[in-house]
Symmetry: C2
């Protein structure tokens, strides 16, 4: 399709698409004349992903470029490609590693990963920003007096494990590794608000049932 059709089907203005092409976020189309290029369904899909990251995730353009670099890196295996793309996304600030509470929570998180049987996650450990985010979050909860026991954490973790399985089932419907990684990035940006909205709506439903109006 031509640039005008790509713009119409994606809802992204022509000027913005040209900007993404110049910035290297969107690969060049196939040149069909000195002034015209043809774009594919892959361009349309990529455009959706870029919009998701910039408009919904509010991720800076330089970071989007880095994430997409990993999405497109065919030299990596699927897990590393997924990891590299997701880990390049903005992460919350980390707890200081030398703080006694952080040390204590880190030990508790390692035990928890063992109890969950998440041995790969424990092995990747502090290499993963997600692991560090989990430690920081629990440090904050503890410091503010809202921390819960290991048992409650495990109950939440089992449910989120089922969510993660659903996420990966979705990825598995794509044969192509690039598409898998694209969907993983989009899902991080777009499915997080969806899951949180579903949780809050279910809270409203069940709060009404338990406590009346």
């Amino acid at each position: 399709m031509r640039l005008a059709e790509l713009s119409e089907r994606s809802g992204v203005p022509v000027g913005t698409i040209k900007y993404y092409l110049r910035e290297g976020l969107l690969p060049q189309g196939e040149r069909i004349s000195a002034t015209q290029a043809a774009y594919s369904e892959a361009h349309l899909r990529r455009l959706g992903l870029i919009r998701a990251m910039i408009q919904i995730g509010r991720i800076p353009v330089a970071t989007v470029r880095e994430v997409l670099g990993h999405v497109d890196d065919e030299s990596l295996g699927t897990t590393f490609r997924l990891g590299a793309a997701l880990w390049a996304m903005p992460q919350p600030p980390e707890a200081p590693a030398d703080d006694p509470l952080t040390v204590q929570v880190t030990e508790a998180v390692d035990r928890f990963l063992g109890d969950m049987g998440w041995h790969n996650a424990r092995e990747i450990g502090a290499l993963s920003p997600t692991y560090r985010t989990l430690v920081t979050t629990i440090v904050t909860l503890t410091r503010l007096g809202f921390s819960r026991g290991a048992e409650t954490l495990a109950q939440y973790a089992h449910l989120m494990e089922e969510v993660a399985q659903l996420d990966l089932d979705q990825l598995d419907t794509y044969e192509d590794d690039s598409e898998k990684v694209e969907l993983a990035v989009a899902s991080a940006v777009l499915y997080e608000p969806l899951l949180l909205a579903l949780r809050r709506l279910a809270q409203e439903e069940h709060s009404t049932r338990r406590y009346g109006l």
Copy 2:
């Protein structure tokens, strides 16, 4: 306890506590002399909640004051108090109501709520910012080409319903309505990052299992 002890136990500087007192976020202590006041465990807990909203949730002070006003409003029943406090928190932008895709998604969401048996949530409907957020999120997913069928949505919803039940089980351990509502607000701010970190960590675990390294 005195102000100095409140500061030490909460980790919040004395000057900041005085600012929260002046701004009416934290109730005044019990006056014990012309220059001294005594603070209770309730002050400590409230301080944790204020820090969670401001530091983690990055919620403006004026909004925090409004949320806490609902937390403290004993004239409301539990559900309304929970709702008023949570609904006063910052919400994502809404999809334009007159857009054809929004109309179509709204109908789909109403059917979905019926299928889930979330009849109270359907009745509250567009009164609830959460309902409107769900519609907006699905509109965005659809527009960007990452929307999934009703069946997938229902699978996610069932899991988040179990999460919400766990959330409410936590609330039920508090007898006092004010404490219930405080925990609900803290849980919205602090448990969302926890749940998302658990989901991402489980994704890493299972992605490694499915795809190797």
